[in-house]
Symmetry: C2
Subunit: 397 residues, 2 copies
């Protein structure tokens, strides 16, 4: 006499959790430093100093009743105004604080948005590979996640999108920079996607939303990599943001939803966002960290460490003969399995104490995800083992 679906969600161990538990056991046997767990996608770089400095300052400056008190459900007004002003300055979109809704992190941004825009039986489209929890968040809204293929460069299959859109499709969910592939959708991709959405919205007479999940927005490593601001390309767009990765504060649960003020019925969508937040039990985003986010918005942890890791790892793996998607951002490498049976490949890697995640968890067959938010030294020590693995497959000498 409890909810069986919730029991299922709470009792099934994720693949990543399985690997984590295995790493613990194996580490106890051979020494934790000899087990290479590439499964965990947690920021490994500390929050920039300004985060703790801001906390200490706010605690001193703002009276406790105010600092730790309820903010309005959508978030403190001055916090929203400040973040919106930054958004306008950075991206040229005229956003106001009244278009922003502060959330308890990226997952909250997504569950709230889905509940706001979806009705029972609606469909949300995503391209593989994708963050596995999307299916959980979309299901919570009574909707269905439809997964479409990408090409080998992990760019969307546009023809598949055209075919998949029907009157039940309420939105396209994108995640760029992408977890798990690290790929960024450039301007051309965004243009093509939004052209299709516009065309199909017209065909079916109802807006199809572009929901852009952007926790990795700031995590890009090359001067010529630009993450386009979707609001500039498509009116019916909603941005789901989180400070978890940019500020390395994933445990503090702080992010926002920005509803494009140019969207059809923008004010009504915003009201539905407020209603969905209320329905799901969010009340308001954590007050102290709302203020920290406002003070630190646009800043980042030291991303040069991730860049160095990416450069060393990408070069090392491709030098061994492995095929990797070039990761523009985030902190993941998506690598092609050299044999069709990816489970067998992961098992073989395990012999070298290399723990990889089967890409099937992300809806992509034939690939593995390798997280590089680790000490650079760990990656350097792992590369010779990857080389031995590659040799087994005859990828290098």
């Amino acid at each position: 006499m409890y909810n069986e679906k919730m029991y299922g969600l709470g009792s099934k161990r994720s693949v990543i959790r399985e690997i984590f538990e295995y790493a613990k056991v194996r580490g106890a046997q051979i020494g934790a430093e000899n087990v290479f767990d590439f499964s965990i996608g947690n920021p490994s770089v500390p929050a920039p100093a300004i985060v703790n400095e801001t906390i200490e300052r706010l605690v001193k400056e703002i009276p406790a009743v105010e600092l730790h008190g309820y903010t309005s459900a959508q978030g403190d007004k001055s916090v929203r105004d400040k973040i919106a002003a930054n958004y306008t300055r950075r991206f040229g979109i005229k956003l106001s604080g009244d278009d922003l809704y502060m959330t308890v992190g990226a997952a909250a941004s997504l569950t709230i948005t889905m509940k706001a825009i979806c009705n029972e039986g609606d469909e949300i489209i995503v391209f593989a590979p994708h963050f596995p929890e999307y299916s959980v968040f979309v299901a919570n809204a009574g909707a269905k996640l439809v997964v479409l293929p990408s090409d080998d460069k992990m760019q969307p299959d546009f023809e598949a999108l055209k075919k998949a859109i029907n009157p039940r499709v309420r939105g396209l969910l994108i995640n760029s920079p992408n977890n798990p592939s690290g790929v960024v959708y450039g301007e051309e991709t965004i243009r093509k996607l939004t052209d299709i959405l516009r065309e199909k919205s017209k065909e079916f007479g109802e807006p199809i939303y572009l929901v852009s999940d952007e926790p990795y927005r700031e995590l890009v490593y090359d001067a010529d990599t630009v993450v386009p601001c979707v609001m500039a390309y498509y009116d019916n767009s909603i941005v789901c943001y989180s400070y978890s990765k940019s500020l390395s504060i994933p445990g503090e649960r702080i992010g926002y939803i920005a509803v494009n003020p140019s969207a059809t019925d923008a004010k009504a969508i915003y009201a539905a966002v407020c209603g969905a937040g209320r329905s799901l039990g969010f009340v308001c985003a954590p007050g102290l960290f709302q203020r920290v986010a406002a003070e630190c918005d646009g800043m980042t942890a030291d991303l040069s460490i991730y860049k160095r890791n990416r450069d060393i790892f990408y070069k090392g793996l491709t030098d061994c003969g492995f095929t990797c998607v070039y990761p523009d951002g985030a902190f993941y490498l998506f690598m092609k399995s050299p044999e069709e049976d990816v489970t067998a490949f992961c098992e073989r890697a395990k012999k070298y104490e290399l723990l990889l995640v089967n890409g099937e968890s992300f809806g992509a067959k034939g690939w593995v995800r390798i997280a590089y938010c680790l000490k650079t030294e760990t990656i350097e020590r792992a590369l010779p083992l990857f080389k031995k693995l590659a040799q087994e497959y005859g990828l290098c000498k």
Copy 2:
């Protein structure tokens, strides 16, 4: 093309919000100090000093990657162990950290619990008067809130409970000390309620849960007022707690769910709680404040201010001839309207700049709620106005 229900939840102003807006406008006309807004139930006493001291210490002591990092979904293990040990010491219930799930505050505790125990079409019983958002939280789980009457002392109508329980009833939700009445359910009440639940569970062959919403647990003011620990009286019980009121940190969103380890299928219920938290997008409760809660668990803000307010206000109002339920705890007074038309009574009170909340918002006809989490001086200045109001009804000379 958005969710109309969510739009409704997000766009309809609550009665309390209406009063808040009115107070702002009226305050601008006659001076804010001359408007007596008794609608807002926010802690007015600052957090105890140890809250900010703990924040400052943790920021210095714990490396940022750990302090601001993800905890496990159910909460940091050492946090849960510490709070569980306190619970065992305070209430004699053998609780372990594995029975506790840290939440993003009371609303999250409730939405998660409801989603964990309810299936579509189930019923949850509550006695009036009750916190209005219960209907939203229960609806989110696909269940229906059934409201039963209380007597004039705001104790439950036991016969009504017996009649209302049918095989669709999944739980009884209680809130003691109560918002809005301030009343505590004593040991005898809890015994009678749990006897009925036990009897009916047996009759229908399935457990009926007792869900105890306890954000006001520590806010009681008389030496002989004891808030019974429901776990000691009933196995199939789940406690929803929040630190918002005890520590005066409502904006920080931190609380917990404790599943009675003696419950039938306790481990499965706990797993369903984990699954529901995941489904709703909670990921983990805010990390810094999980640790603050563990350090400050069992401590409180300076409650003597609320006690003083209650004593002065209750005496003052009853001296004027008003009938009030004696409030054992929380920071609300429930006062009988001297005329049947409560809206008319509230309007008449407004003439004296006294802003009261119609008890209908809480499912109780004929009453008003008066929040006394205010400066004592405000209450002292309001009492002569209440006297004039009472005189209009001939309640006093």
